[in-house]
Each structure stands twice: as C-alpha cells, then as structure tokens.
C-alpha cells in the first residue's frame, strides 16, 4: 500500500498542475461587445471587478463593480488575446452572459462570430446574443445601471422577464441561434437593445445616484436576418406577433379599439400555436388557441351581457389575426426572409415535396405561400370587478 501511494504521488507531481488557475488570476468576463471598424474587429469587454474595497464587506464604495476594456484585432481571437496588454489577468469567458453585436457588423454578416464562439471550448453557449440597434456595441456596454451590479445581467434579466410578460424580445440562447442558422430552412431573429439618452453621462457613477438616470439601455423590437446578414427591424407590436407565431410567448397584451381613442387591453395567456402545412401544396395553416382576461377597459360596456363578451372575443381574434398578417407581410414580402421556418415545417412533414420547391424557395415560393390564419380566443375572466367603472360624461 505504501508503494502504491508513493507511485500515485509521484505521478501526480508529474502532472504538475498545468491547468491550475487561482480565481484571482482570472478576468471573469460577463459581456462582450463586437463592432467592426475598417476591417478590424473592435471588442468591448466587460469584466467583473473583484477587488475588495478595504476589509469591510458591507461598504458601498465609490468603485464600480465592473471594468470595461477595449481592444482591436483582425480576428476576434486576436483581439481577445490583446487584453493581456492592458489587464494582468487571464481572460475567462466561461461565465459569459451577453454578446452584443453592433449594427454595422450585423449588416455585414455574423457567421465569423458564430464560428469563433462555437469553436472555443471555454465559451459558454447559453449566453444571450443581441444586436445593438442604431448604436455601437461599446456604447451599450458602457452604461451603468442601478438595479444590478453587473450591467450585462440587467440586460439578460430584462430579456428574460420581458419574454415572460410582454413578449417583445425572445429569450434564445446563443446555441439556439446557431442551430437555427445551420438549419437552412429558417432564418434568425434576435432581440435588440438601444441606447436612449446621452451616452457620456451614463458612464459615471454619479448617474447611479439619480433615480431616473439620463442614459438608459432599452429593449426594442426584433432584428430580422437573412442568412447571416441583418436586413431590418420589427416594431414592438410586430415583434410580439412574431414571437407569438414562433411559439415563444407566455403572456402578452392585445389592445383592441372600442371607440374613439378608447381601448380595451386584453391579456393573452399561454397561447397554443399550431403551424401545419397542407400536403403537397404551397399552403400553411396557422392556428392560434388562447384564453385570457380583461385587464383594463375604457368603454362603457355591460360586461354581464354574453353578447358583449362574444363581441370582445371576436374583436380580439381579429386584432391578433391582423397583427400576424402584418408581420407575415413585412417579413416575407418586404424583407424576404422566412423567420418562422415554414420551409422547415414543410420539410419535416413531407420531405419529398420539399425537394421540389426547395430551389426556388426564396425567389418565388415563399411569396406564393398561402397562409391561412385562424384565431380562437376565449375570454375567461374580467378581473376583480364585473362592471366597468364609468367616466363622468356630464
């Protein structure tokens, strides 16, 4: 037994702790922003600042909780390595939460980014990837936010809660986007953010102290890609409908007009969407099934009348159908992309037929695709009160 322990120890000494890295020697990267400038990649890297402020763990010091680095290089990997010229620590991207792509780079093509992050075994594939709308990625990352200590976490969390409660952004991981991209029969959409307000003010810690800061990062509608190039944006309503058709929506709101500038807000809860192709024809059927509650109502309706309820249901169905049609129109006719994966659905149910229409999909067949939308909505509840609180007309 003694011999064996000795041998084991000797072997261990040989292995020599090559991979040993203390936590303090790592730069924990939480967000990377990528821009392109004159054929060079410009990277903005957000790293957590783990310096202790004195020995008092409860101090709310003046130091910010993260540090931002900027580097430049001909490829992404080269730019990342150049961090070592500025920071003493080794870059560690295994806890990456957010990748932000500048608009110019998105228009040029993002396949290179996909390749780099997929190939690196240390990069975390469950991070979010978003496009910076009408901004540069470095501006997005430089804004401090008061609610979270790490600003990238703020963006990630707001995407996640938004996809749960409103449905404008979509909560898709990086891996999912790559999977969709590799699948030739569907195109990518990505959530977007935009810098609102003046950029310079947002960089100080002073802005943390005001309750409503000047410069903010706000989620916007989806960005639509064709293959790997950005072709356009959707508005917020269109993004909600797009997410609805893509089965990514949990709860969302629908506004229906019931009078002049008077609206009813309906909450659509957990809709069930079914997209099915008609066999051997260029036809798709979209069926939306959902129920919901009245959240807010401005018109003076008698909510105890069954006819009124039915009318509200019908109006909701029409509005949803209208929204879906408008988003279909915009993506298919204007942008000429297939973000809902109609080609994929046809292929998966009928591969032989798909082979015949495959070659002319983008040029001809996508536009000729007949899409039948049917919405079935049931109003389940009206909230806590059963009548409308009237406004004084006199």
């Amino acid at each position: 037994m003694k011999n064996k322990i000795l041998v084991l120890l000797v072997i261990f000494l040989f292995t020599g702790c090559y991979n040993y890295r203390e936590i303090n020697s790592l730069s924990i990267t939480t967000a990377i922003g990528i821009d392109k400038k004159d054929d060079n990649y410009l990277l903005t890297i957000q790293v957590v600042n783990t310096q202790k402020v004195g020995s008092d763990t409860n101090s709310t010091g003046e130091q910010s909780k993260f540090i931002t680095y900027e580097t430049k290089g001909e490829t992404i990997q080269e730019a990342l390595r150049k961090i070592v010229l500025e920071s003493p620590r080794r870059l560690y991207i295994n806890h990456l939460q957010l990748i932000v792509i500048g608009e110019d780079l998105a228009k040029e093509g993002i396949s290179q980014i996909f390749d780099f992050f997929m190939r690196n075994p240390e990069a975390r594939k469950q991070s979010q990837i978003i496009v910076a709308k009408e901004s540069k990625a470095e501006d997005v990352l430089k804004i401090l936010t008061p609610l979270e200590t790490i600003s990238s976490k703020n963006i990630v969390d707001s995407i996640s809660s938004d996809s749960k409660y409103l449905g404008v952004s979509e909560n898709n991981t990086f891996e999912y986007q790559v999977k969709t991209y590799l699948n030739d029969r569907q195109d990518i959409v990505m959530s977007t953010v935009k810098v609102v307000g003046s950029v310079d003010k947002g960089e100080n810690t002073e802005s943390l102290k005001d309750v409503s800061s000047d410069a903010k990062v706000v989620l916007q509608g989806l960005a639509v890609f064709k293959k790997d190039k950005l072709v356009g944006y959707l508005t917020e309503d269109e993004s909600m409908s797009a997410n609805l058709v893509n089965k990514k929506v949990k709860d969302t709101l629908v506004n229906i007009e019931c009078g002049k500038n008077k609206y009813i807000t309906i909450e659509l809860m957990k809709p069930k969407v079914d997209i099915s192709p008609i066999q051997d024809k260029l036809q798709m059927k979209i069926k939306v099934n959902g129920n919901g509650n009245i959240k807010e109502i401005d018109c003076d309706y008698d909510l105890n009348d069954i006819k009124v309820i039915q009318e509200i249901e019908k109006k909701t169905e029409e509005k949803i159908k209208q929204n879906i049609n408008s988003v279909l129109n915009k993506t298919i006719n204007e942008y000429k992309t297939d973000i809902f994966g109609f080609a994929d659905t046809i292929y998966k149910s009928n591969p032989k037929y798909y082979k015949t229409i495959k070659d002319e999909w983008y040029s001809k067949n996508l536009e000729n695709l007949q899409i039948d939308t049917k919405v079935d909505f049931t109003l389940k509840g009206k909230g806590n009160i059963i009548t409308v609180i009237p406004d004084e007309e006199n």
């Binding site: 064996k4 261990f12 090559y18 991979n19 891996e175 999977k179 149910s349």
Partner: protein, 360 residues
C-alpha cells in the same frame, strides 16, 4: 477461488456495451444515419440478439475453461494459440482507440494545458491497480460504478427530457432504410462485439451460474435501452446540425440541463459515467490480454500491456482528423475479423458436439 456473482458479470457487460457509445460510437452512428440514428439503434438491438446468442453458446460450452483454453481444445494447440493471439491483438487495437477517446476528451474539455502523456499516465495507474487485484475486484468495482452511472444517467435523462423537441428528429426515414442499417452495423460492431470480453471468465467460477443466461440477456436489453435513450435524447435536444458539427455532442448536450433552475451546470458530474464505462472496458481488455498470454495474473505482463496501450495511443493518433477517419473507415474491418472468428468457433463447437453425439 475467484468467485464472482453473475450480477456483477452482467454489470460488466452493460458497462462494456455502453462504453463505446461515447466518442467513436456516437460519431459513426450520427455520421452514417443522420436523423434516423435511433432507428439504427433499434435495428442493431434486434440483430444483436443473435450475436449474444452466439456468445452464450460459446460460454456454455466447456464451462470450466476460459476462452483461450477453449480455443486450444477446439483447434489444437498451435492453431488455437494463433486464434487466441489474433483475438488479443484485435482487442488491443480496440482498447488503444478507446484509450485515445478517453484521454482526448479529458484533454480537450478539462485539462487543456496538461500534456496528454501525463493524463494517460494517471489512467494507466488506475488500470494497472485494478488489474493487479484480480477479476473479483474488477467485477465488484464495476457493479458499484454501474449503480452510480445509472443514477447520473437518470438525472441527465430527466434534464434532457425537459428540452426535448420532437421536431428535431423528424423527418422520418427521409433517405430510406439504408442509412439506419448502416448505422446499426456500426453499433453492432463497435458496441456489441466487445462483449467477447466476458468470455474470459469460465462459467463455473460464477457463484450462481444457472441464472447467467437470463442475466446476460436482461443486461443486454438494458444496455440497448440506455443507448437508445442517449441517442434519441441528444439528437432531440440539439438538433441534427449541431450534433454533426460538435466534437463531443454527448457532453455538450448535457450543458443544457437546467432542473428547477437549481441543478445547473452539472454536466461535469454527469459525464463521469462515461469515464467509468471506459475505464472498466479498458481494464477488462487488459485482463483478457494478460490471461490470453499467461494463465494466472502476472503483474509484469499487466504493466507491459498497459504501458503499450499508452504509448500506442500517443504515437498512432496524431490528431482528431486522423482518428475520425480511422474510426469511420478502418476500425470496422477489424471487428469483421472478430465476427468471423466467433462464427468459426461456434461452428467448430457445433461440429464437435455432433461428433460426440454420434459417438455415443
């Protein structure tokens, strides 16, 4: 006086069959069958019954002798020894590629800066240690490791089931039945054929040897179910395109497990079951080879063989491209040779038995 339980022998068989699914087994299956890989598994499971029947047939003949002795008895001393050494060489080649799988995986995912030789040295030590102790320790260890592997497989399976999408494994049979059959041959040869290893244990050293046939069949079915679940869950989770481009999709798929938002990032713990299976497979192969060369466990031969495996896996496979090409194209011919030998042995046994019954 080596007494093994038939349950432990079954656990060894299960681990041997599953072990090749990691790395080369999965890669060849997905490359040849694509989305219909799971159909390939079902086909190979059905065909594999005949193979297991052949193995059990050889196992039940002359229950006092291990396989090398049986060959010597059947074919005479010289020819039998030639066959023994042939089998041993094929098993050696298999274990070299398995060893490379193991070390390559650890080196690329976990310890990227440690030289491959040192990681290999660690595992060489473990394999030598377990072989020096003898077959009882190998079987007992494999039983415990099997229990741990099953528990981790269960957790992994539940986690992957959450994210399973049926649309990822459609369309069914787009290119006809040809690709799944090709994939099933790969599984048959790479996964089930190494079961020849359990023939090294003579039947009479088992404590309850009446039940061994039933146990082996049940064990085979269980391992095929596990392989089927693995394949279908991984492809259903990642989608076929991602599965084809990743180097180790079995490991990457586990990264998506997120149970109750709490058990996140447990892929490292669940992937341990593959390491266990690979170690048991290589240890059993080394045991097979030492017993082919000399009857009793000779420590020196164990050391020599294990170090040879280490050196061979370092020298022969220079990078993964060569390795993948080897696994897809060449490895299967060795297994065809093994199949031929097995059939030869069974036919000879049948002839011998007919001769004996004619004499009586």
């Amino acid at each position: 006086m080596k007494k093994i339980n038939s349950l432990q022998l079954t656990s060894m068989i299960i681990m041997v069959i599953i072990s090749a699914t990691f790395g080369k087994g999965f890669y060849t299956l997905v490359k040849s069958s694509g989305v219909d890989a799971w159909i390939g598994v079902i086909i190979s499971a059905v065909i594999g019954f005949s193979l297991m029947f052949l193995f059990l047939y050889i196992f039940n003949y002359e229950p006092d002798l291990p396989l090398p002795e049986k060959n010597k008895k059947l074919f005479g001393k010289t020819f039998g020894t030639i066959i023994n050494y042939l089998i041993a060489i094929i098993i050696f080649i298999t274990s070299v590629s398995l060893f490379y799988d193991l070390i390559g995986f650890i080196s690329s995912q976990f310890l990227s800066e440690t030289p491959i030789l040192f990681i290999g040295l660690m595992f060489v030590f473990v394999i030598i240690y377990i072989n020096v102790k003898g077959i009882e320790v190998i079987s007992r260890t494999s039983f415990i490791l099997l229990i741990i592997s099953l528990i981790s497989f269960l957790i992994g399976g539940i986690g992957l089931l959450n994210n399973f999408e049926l649309s990822n494994i459609k369309p069914f049979l787009e290119f006809g039945i040809q690709p799944p059959i090709k994939g099933s041959i790969y599984i048959l040869m790479l996964n089930i054929m190494p079961t020849i290893l359990f023939l090294i244990v003579p039947k009479n050293t088992l404590v309850d040897n009446k039940k061994i046939n039933a146990y082996v069949t049940v064990g085979y079915i269980i391992s095929m179910i596990l392989i089927f679940l693995t394949v279908i869950l991984i492809i259903g989770n990642l989608g076929i395109d991602l599965t084809k481009i990743y180097l180790y999709p079995e490991y990457i798929a586990l990264k998506r497990i997120n149970i109750f938002n709490f058990l996140d990032r447990i892929e490292n713990i669940i992937v341990i079951q593959w390491i266990f299976c690979l170690i048991i497979n290589i240890s059993l192969s080394v045991y097979f080879m030492t017993n082919t060369i000399k009857k009793n466990n000779n420590k020196l031969i164990v050391y020599i063989i294990t170090f040879l495996i280490l050196l061979a896996s370092n020298v022969v496979f220079k990078n993964t491209t060569l390795y993948n090409a080897y696994v897809y194209n060449i490895a299967i011919y060795f297994k065809y040779l093994l199949l031929f030998i097995i059939i030869l042995i069974s036919i000879k046994i049948k002839i011998d038995r007919m001769k004996k019954s004619k004499e009586n």
